[in-house]
């Protein structure tokens, strides 16, 4: 059963130096508050896994939390490049960043295999691309019935998954709706999980399109109102497009990024 604890305690207990951490949320419900808490607690040597390491991982990478990134698309959506990610890959700043690169279809299927307790997944993908040569976790596999050659990717099994959802009930059952991306798979694929929520309610009223994660597959729940900002939580907030645009200038320069870190992360405490 999931325990409901303050965010700082949850991060401190669940995320350890050297862990493989998957923070998911596909444009919607990105767990920024938890990400900032991980920076604040100065975690190091993390392997960060995420289909779209957008602004949230730009922040973690720039803060020096990561030694490796497993991903399929690293950009600032609607804006442009991720400057901290680029600086890490091109100049090893602040620390070298190893990368393991996939396509969305590959990453999604790696989570599916992890959630399903399988060592690998099969897809039609990568053939003819140069990715297949650069990434060791892409291999051919032959159909035992037709002889057709397809592509295999290994399961993702993060140490901890971190996602944001709209609500939990007092037993720690979690409910999210709108675009729910790959969050169910990320939680089910991981050994431990932290879900930040907009609020805790008495009863989770069924809603169209809602995904429920039963309490017994969640490790900790933390209340973090607006914890997806600058992304959004459908029914609670809208996407802060200006933040994404402003991030381009903040992150372009190491000094201005460092100032942002000091002022917006280290000088503040988790809100719950």
């Amino acid at each position: 059963m999931a325990e409901i604890v303050p965010l700082a305690d949850a991060v401190s207990e669940l995320v350890r130096d050297g862990d493989t951490v998957a923070m998911e949320g596909f444009t919607h419900l990105i767990p920024f508050a938890a990400g900032h808490e991980i920076i604040r607690q100065r975690r190091r040597d993390l392997t960060l896994v995420r289909m779209t390491p957008d602004v949230i991982y730009d922040q973690l990478i720039g803060a020096g939390c990561a030694r490796k990134l497993v991903f399929s698309w690293g950009g600032n959506p609607g804006v442009g490049s991720l400057h901290r990610f680029r600086d890490a890959v091109q100049n090893s700043w602040p620390v070298p960043l190893e990368i393991e690169e996939h396509s969305h279809a590959g990453m999604a299927n790696r989570y599916v295999a992890g959630a399903a307790g399988l060592p690998f997944a099969v897809l039609r993908g990568y053939t003819g691309t140069d990715l297949a040569e650069q990434t060791e976790t892409i291999k051919p596999i032959t159909c035992p019935f037709t002889g057709e050659v397809l592509t295999a990717v290994p399961a993702l099994r993060p140490d901890v998954a971190v996602v944001h959802a709209q609500r939990a009930d007092r037993d720690g059952n979690v409910q999210m709706w709108g675009i729910t991306g790959v969050q169910k798979e990320a939680v089910l694929a991981s050994s431990r999980s932290l879900v930040t929520v907009e609020e805790v309610v008495d009863t989770l009223e069924p809603l169209p399109g809602a995904v429920v994660l039963p309490s017994w597959v969640v490790t900790k729940v933390s209340v973090a109102p607006n914890g997806a900002h600058p992304s959004y939580a459908q029914g609670y907030s809208v996407r802060d497009n200006e933040y994404y645009q402003a991030w381009d200038a903040i992150s372009r320069d190491r000094d201005s990024f460092q100032r942002w870190l000091d002022e917006s992360v280290f000088a503040t405490a988790a809100s719950a």
């Binding site: 698309w73 690293g74 969305h104 299927n109 897809l123 691309t129 459908q234």
Partner: protein
């Protein structure tokens, strides 16, 4: 055909977007990326293809946004979709089996065989000169859709003889490569730029200039292309944007991200 005078009342980008919107058949199911493709697809829904089905990789099937979304995961897409499914499902059940008619892609580099690079430019993979965002959904969109439309501004930096990195396969190194790779979609059917339209030669698979946008010359296209581009014998000219198209496009752009 409208005669084009010195200063048209539309920009080259607008021409590109309008041309892309017209390439979408009514009733087609279209896998839409963000940016130009999304603008073109939403323009088409309001002009020539009211029955166009928009599918976004965020899992929103049949989205009918009443303004231009800023990301592939804006709330308006979920709110207006016929069905919202998980990201694994959108790739596995909807894209991979070849259910999608048209895939819409952009490119940082594009080569003569329509291969696309959105990964790294210059240097090598481990030490690139420029690190780009990477693959996203593009490789499997390029592999599985019945056809692919590429929308991209044309320049020598972008239109290269050979991409530095094949992120998404067009026709590989030429005829027969798609079949060899087992790719089941038809590959790039049309490349639409701010200068004109290119289509693969049915025999050589090389991108061939088939249409110029109004006011653009073959010479301009040659100067913006990093290989000796072939020109179709029956080279045509794109109809300029109609006033209605321009009005709707400009209204759409104003609503980007829900601003009104």
């Amino acid at each position: 055909m409208t005669e084009v005078t010195a200063a048209p009342d539309w920009s080259a980008d607008e021409m590109m977007t309008v041309a892309a919107s017209r390439a979408l058949r009514d009733g087609a199911v279209c896998f839409v990326g963000i940016g130009l493709p999304s603008t073109a697809a939403n323009l088409a829904r309001r002009t020539t293809a009211p029955g166009l089905v928009l599918v976004y990789e965020s899992g929103t099937i049949g989205a009918k946004p009443d303004y231009l979304p800023l990301s592939i995961g804006d709330g308006i897409l979920a709110d207006t979709a016929d069905s919202v499914v998980s990201v694994p499902e959108i790739f596995n059940y909807w894209l991979q089996p070849g259910r999608i008619d048209v895939g819409f892609l952009g490119a940082a580099q594009l080569d003569r065989y329509g291969n696309i690079n959105t990964t790294v430019i210059g240097g090598d993979y481990a030490n690139p000169k420029v690190r780009l965002p990477g693959a996203g959904g593009a490789p499997e969109i390029a592999a599985s859709c019945r056809e692919v439309i590429v929308v991209v501004r044309q320049s020598k930096r972008t239109f290269v003889d050979r991409v530095d990195f094949v992120t998404s396969v067009g026709f590989g190194a030429g005829p027969g490569d798609r079949e060899r790779y087992g790719l089941r979609g038809g590959g790039p059917r049309t490349v639409i730029t701010d200068l004109g339209v290119m289509e693969p030669d049915p025999v050589s698979c090389e991108l061939t200039l088939t249409r110029l946008h109004p006011g653009v010359t073959v010479e301009q296209v040659r100067e913006a292309t990093g290989w000796e581009i072939a020109v179709a014998d029956d080279l045509g000219t794109t109809e300029p944007p109609t006033p209605a198209e321009l009005t709707i496009l400009r209204e759409l752009e104003k609503t980007k991200g829900g601003k009104r």
